[in-house]
C-alpha cells in the first residue's frame, strides 16, 4: 500500500490482510471470519480490554496484546491461537466460573450463554479451582427485568450500552477487586432508579443470565444483539 492511502497490511495466522489504520486487530479478524475469544467486547460498544481473553501474540513484542484495543500496524504478524494462549484463555474462563455462582442447570440463559459457549469452545471440562460461592443478591425490583449478581462476570457491557447508546448511564460499578459489582444509580434497587428508561438494552447485551426478562424460566432467555450494530450504523449515517 502506498503511504498516502494510510492503509496497512498485516498477517493474521499466516494470512495477509489489508486494514484501515484506525482498525484494531480484532476488527480485521472479525471481518475475515477469524475467531478470537472475548467476553467484554461487543460490536457497537466502546472497547475496554478487560476480560483478557482476546490476548494475541504479536511477533517482535514480548507482551501479549489485547486484540480489541490494539490498532493494526504495517507488517504486524499476529497469532491468534497457540498452546500458550489457549492455556491462559482456559484459565481465565475457569476463573470467571469460580468467581460467582454459575449453575447452568437452573439458569435462564442455559444454552444461550456466552460464558457457557466459551467454555465449550475452549474445551473446558472442569473448573480446577474451588468456587468462591459468595452470597449475592438478586434484584427483581424492576417491573420487567431481573438482575442476578450471582451470574455477573463484570464485563461492563450493560454499563457501556446504557451510557453510550441509551445515554442514561443508569449502570455503573462500585467496589474494588473481587468485591466489585454493577449497580443502578447510587446503589439502589433497580425498580427505584430514576434514570432507567426501561429500554432493555442492558438485558440484551448481557452475555450471561445476570440480566434477564421477567417471566423466563430455565433456558428460555435468548438475547437479541443485532440491534446494536444497526443502531450504531444508522447513527453514523446520520452524523
Amino acid at each position: 500500500m502506498s503511504p498516502q492511502s494510510g492503509a496497512k497490511t498485516l498477517k493474521i495466522d499466516g494470512r495477509d490482510f489489508g486494514a484501515r489504520p484506525d482498525e484494531t486487530i480484532l476488527d480485521v479478524a472479525r471481518e475475515n471470519k477469524i475467531f478470537i475469544p472475548r467476553m467484554c467486547e461487543l460490536d457497537g460498544l466502546s472497547t475496554v480490554g478487560a476480560c483478557r481473553l482476546c490476548l494475541v501474540e504479536v511477533k517482535g513484542s514480548n507482551k501479549l496484546l489485547p486484540s480489541c484495543v490494539t490498532q493494526v500496524e504495517e507488517g504486524m504478524e499476529v497469532t491468534t491461537s497457540s498452546q500458550r494462549l489457549d492455556h491462559y484463555r482456559r484459565m481465565i474462563v475457569e476463573l470467571l466460573f469460580s468467581e460467582r455462582n454459575h449453575v447452568c442447570s437452573v439458569c435462564v440463559s442455559n444454552g444461550h450463554c456466552e460464558l457457557q459457549n466459551m467454555a465449550q469452545k475452549l474445551g473446558i471440562t472442569h473448573v480446577r479451582f474451588p468456587y468462591r460461592n459468595p452470597k449475592l443478591d438478586v434484584d427483581a425490583s424492576h417491573d420487567r427485568f431481573v438482575m442476578d449478581h450471582n451470574r455477573c462476570i463484570l464485563c461492563t457491557r450493560c454499563v457501556r450500552v446504557c451510557d453510550e447508546i441509551e445515554g442514561a448511564h443508569t449502570w455503573d460499578i462500585m467496589g474494588r477487586g473481587v468485591e466489585a459489582k454493577v449497580i443502578t444509580d447510587l446503589n439502589q434497587p433497580w425498580g427505584s432508579s430514576e434514570t432507567c428508561t426501561g429500554c432493555g438494552k442492558c438485558v440484551h447485551v448481557c452475555p450471561t443470565g445476570a440480566l434477564s426478562e421477567k417471566g423466563r424460566s430455565v433456558a428460555e432467555m435468548e438475547k437479541r444483539r443485532n440491534f446494536l450494530p444497526y443502531l450504531t450504523l444508522m447513527r453514523e449515517e446520520h452524523e
Binding site: L96, L154, E179
Partner: protein
C-alpha cells in the same frame, strides 16, 4: 519576579538569619510530629521568649532529618559540620538544650552523627530536608531555591532543558525507571491543544514514605521541578495528585502554592516571560491502583480510578486526551539541582545505567529505621548493616524486600549486589519507589508473601479478570499453605497463577502482583516445602492459633 528580585529576597533572608547566633531546629515532619515534636518546638519558643533571647536565638520548624526511629529530633548550631543532633527530645528537655547552646552538649540526648547512617548518605533530593523551614518560601529561596527555574526560563530554550535532563541520565523514581529526559522529549514533541504536567504523589507501597517526607520537608522543590518540566514540554496546567492520607503534606503544598503564586513564580507570565503555569491539587481517595498513571488520570478527570490499556501512552494521550507528562515526586525533586549544576554533574553520581541518588525508606527489622538518600550502586549489605545498623535483638538477617507489593524478597546471597534498576530486576525484584523492608528470622516468608497478596487482592480495581479473581485464588492457596492444609498440587497451581497474572493482567498492579510469591518461591522454597510436607512453619509464625488461623 526577575533574577535580581530573587537575589534580593535571598540576601534579605540570609541577613535576617545571620542575626541569630543560635538556632535550634526541630523536626516537624509527620514522623516526629507523631511523637509530639510540636510540643518541643512550643516549649523552646516559650523558653526563648521567657529568657528574652528572641534577638539572637531562634527555634525553627524544619523537615525530616532522617533518623525517624529516634524522634523527635532536634539539632542546634548554625554552621555546617558544627551541629549537634539530639534524639528522643521531650518538651521538658527544652531548657536543658537552651542552656547547653554555649556550653558542652547534653550527652543524655546526644545522637552521634559520625556513624555510617549519616556519613554514607549523599543528599541531593533531601539537601534541604531538616535544614529549611518548609512553610517559608524565603527560606527555600535563601537555599538557592527557584534559581534553576529562573535560569531555565530566562536563559535556556525548552529544548536545552530537555537535553540537560537527558544528559543527567535521570530515570523515573516511581518504580519503573523510565528515562525522564526521553519522556519529556516525547511530551514536548507530542501535538495537542493543551498539555498537562502531573506530579504523582499517590505513594501507596506499605512501609514507604519517601514522597511524603519530600513534600513535608521541601514542597517548593517539587513545585520548582514541575515548573521546569512544564517549561520544557510546553504545558500551562499542572496537577499534583496526592493521597488524602497525607494531611500535613497537603497543608504544606497548599501553602507553598499560595506563596509561589504571590511571589510571581507560579501563575501568568513567570519572570516576565510568555511562560505561564498553574498548579492544582487533586486528592486521592485511598486507592493504591491510582498510582498507576492511566488510573491516576481517570481519577483526576473525576472518573473511577481504573487503568486502561496502553498504548496510547499518556505522553501522547493523557489527561482529557491531551499529551500529559506524569512524573513521581522524587523525580521532580531531582530536577532543580540538575538544571542548577548541569546534567553532567548529576551523571557522575551512581552507576552506568542508574544515575544519581535514590531515597529509601528503611523499615522493618533494622536498627535505624528512617529516611536515607544514597548514591545508586551502593550494596544491599551496606544499606542494611552499615546505614541500617544491622538487625536488632541479636537476630539473624533473612531477607530484604524492595519495591513493595510489586517487588520481591532478596535473600542473604543477594546482599553484595548493588542497588540499581538493572541489578534488582535481575535478582527478581524491582527498585520500586524506594520502600526497603528488612525481614529477620522471626518472620515466615510464606506469611510475608501472603501479606502482599492480600494487599494486591484488596487493592485490585476489579477491571480485568486475571487480577480480580487470580489474586483471590492465589491468596486462597497461600492461606492454605500457612494453615498447613495445602498439597503439592496447590503449589503447582500457585506457580501457574504466577505465570498467568504476569502475562495477562491489564496493568502493572496485576502483572507484578505475583513478584513477592515468585521471589520467595525462588529463594525460600524450603519454607514452602516445610509447610506443605511437614506441616511445620520453620519461623514458628504460622498455624499457632486454634483452627489453623494465624494468631
Amino acid at each position: 519576579m526577575t533574577p535580581d528580585e530573587l537575589s534580593e529576597i535571598a540576601e534579605t533572608e540570609r541577613e535576617s538569619q545571620k542575626r541569630f547566633k543560635h538556632r535550634v531546629n526541630v523536626c516537624l515532619a509527620a514522623g516526629c510530629v507523631s511523637c509530639q515534636s510540636q510540643a518541643v518546638k512550643d516549649a523552646l519558643d516559650k523558653d526563648i521568649s521567657r529568657r528574652g533571647w528572641g534577638e539572637h536565638c531562634q527555634a525553627k520548624g524544619v523537615g525530616c532529618m532522617g533518623l525517624c526511629a529516634e524522634g523527635p529530633l532536634v539539632s542546634t548550631g548554625t554552621t555546617i559540620g558544627n551541629e549537634r543532633l539530639y534524639k528522643r527530645v521531650g518538651a521538658a528537655d527544652a531548657a536543658e538544650i537552651l542552656d547547653s547552646l554555649e556550653g558542652p552538649l547534653v550527652s543524655r540526648l546526644h545522637c552521634a552523627t559520625d556513624v555510617p547512617f549519616f556519613q554514607r548518605q549523599k543528599k541531593i533530593v533531601l539537601e534541604n530536608s531538616g535544614v529549611i523551614d518548609p512553610e517559608r518560601i524565603e527560606d527555600y529561596i535563601a537555599a538557592e531555591g527557584y534559581y534553576a527555574l529562573i535560569r531555565a526560563v530566562t536563559e535556556m530554550t525548552p529544548r536545552e532543558v530537555v537535553e540537560e535532563v537527558m544528559k543527567s541520565g535521570l530515570r523515573g523514581r516511581g518504580g519503573a525507571g523510565y528515562p525522564t529526559g526521553l519522556k519529556w522529549s516525547t511530551v514536548a514533541k507530542s501535538f495537542g491543544t493543551q498539555k498537562f504536567v502531573i506530579c504523582n504523589a499517590d505513594e501507596g507501597d506499605p512501609g514507604a514514605f519517601m514522597d511524603r517526607s519530600v513534600l513535608e520537608s521541601d514542597p517548593h522543590r517539587v513545585l520548582e521541578g514541575m515548573l521546569i518540566a512544564a517549561y520544557a514540554v510546553g504545558s500551562s496546567d499542572g496537577y499534583i495528585y496526592v493521597r488524602a492520607e497525607y494531611p500535613l503534606a497537603i497543608k504544606r503544598l497548599r501553602a507553598a502554592i499560595r506563596q509561589a503564586e504571590r511571589a510571581g513564580l507560579l501563575g501568568a507570565n513567570i519572570c516576565g516571560t510568555r511562560f505561564s503555569f498553574k498548579i492544582d491539587l487533586r486528592l486521592g481517595a485511598g486507592a493504591f491502583v491510582c498510582g498507576e498513571e492511566t488510573a491516576l488520570i481517570a481519577s483526576v478527570e473525576g472518573k473511577r480510578g481504573t487503568p486502561r490499556a496502553r498504548p496510547p501512552y499518556p505522553a501522547m494521550q493523557g489527561l482529557l486526551g491531551q499529551p500529559t507528562l506524569i512524573n513521581n515526586v522524587e523525580t521532580f525533586a531531582n530536577v532543580p539541582p540538575i538544571v542548577r549544576n548541569g546534567g553532567d554533574w548529576y551523571a557522575q553520581i551512581g552507576t552506568e545505567k542508574s544515575k544519581g541518588t535514590k531515597v529509601f525508606a528503611l523499615a522493618g527489622r533494622v536498627q535505624n529505621t528512617g529516611l536515607v538518600e544514597v548514591p545508586m550502586g551502593i550494596t544491599l549489605r551496606e544499606m542494611v548493616f552499615e546505614i541500617g545498623g544491622g538487625i536488632p535483638d541479636g537476630r539473624k538477617f533473612k531477607a530484604v524486600q524492595t519495591g513493595g507489593p510489586s517487588g520481591g524478597c532478596l535473600p542473604t546471597e543477594a546482599l553484595d549486589q548493588p542497588v540499581d534498576y538493572e541489578s534488582l530486576a535481575r535478582l527478581g525484584s524491582i527498585m520500586g519507589s524506594g520502600g526497603m523492608i528488612v525481614i529477620d528470622e522471626s518472620s515466615c516468608m510464606v506469611d510475608v508473601a501472603k501479606y502482599f497478596m492480600d494487599f494486591c487482592m484488596t487493592e485490585s480495581c476489579g477491571k480485568c479478570t486475571p487480577c480480580r479473581v487470580g489474586t483471590y485464588q492465589m491468596h486462597r492457596i497461600l492461606s492454605s499453605i500457612t494453615n498447613m492444609t495445602a498439597t503439592p498440587e496447590d503449589l503447582a497451581m500457585l506457580e501457574e497463577f504466577c505465570d498467568l497474572l504476569k502475562h495477562t493482567s491489564l496493568c502493572g498492579l496485576g502483572q507484578s502482583a505475583p513478584n513477592p510469591v515468585v521471589s520467595t518461591l525462588k529463594s525460600f522454597a524450603a519454607e514452602y516445602k516445610a509447610h506443605i510436607e511437614d506441616h511445620t512453619c520453620p519461623a514458628g509464625v504460622c498455624g499457632k492459633a486454634p483452627g489453623g488461623e494465624r494468631a
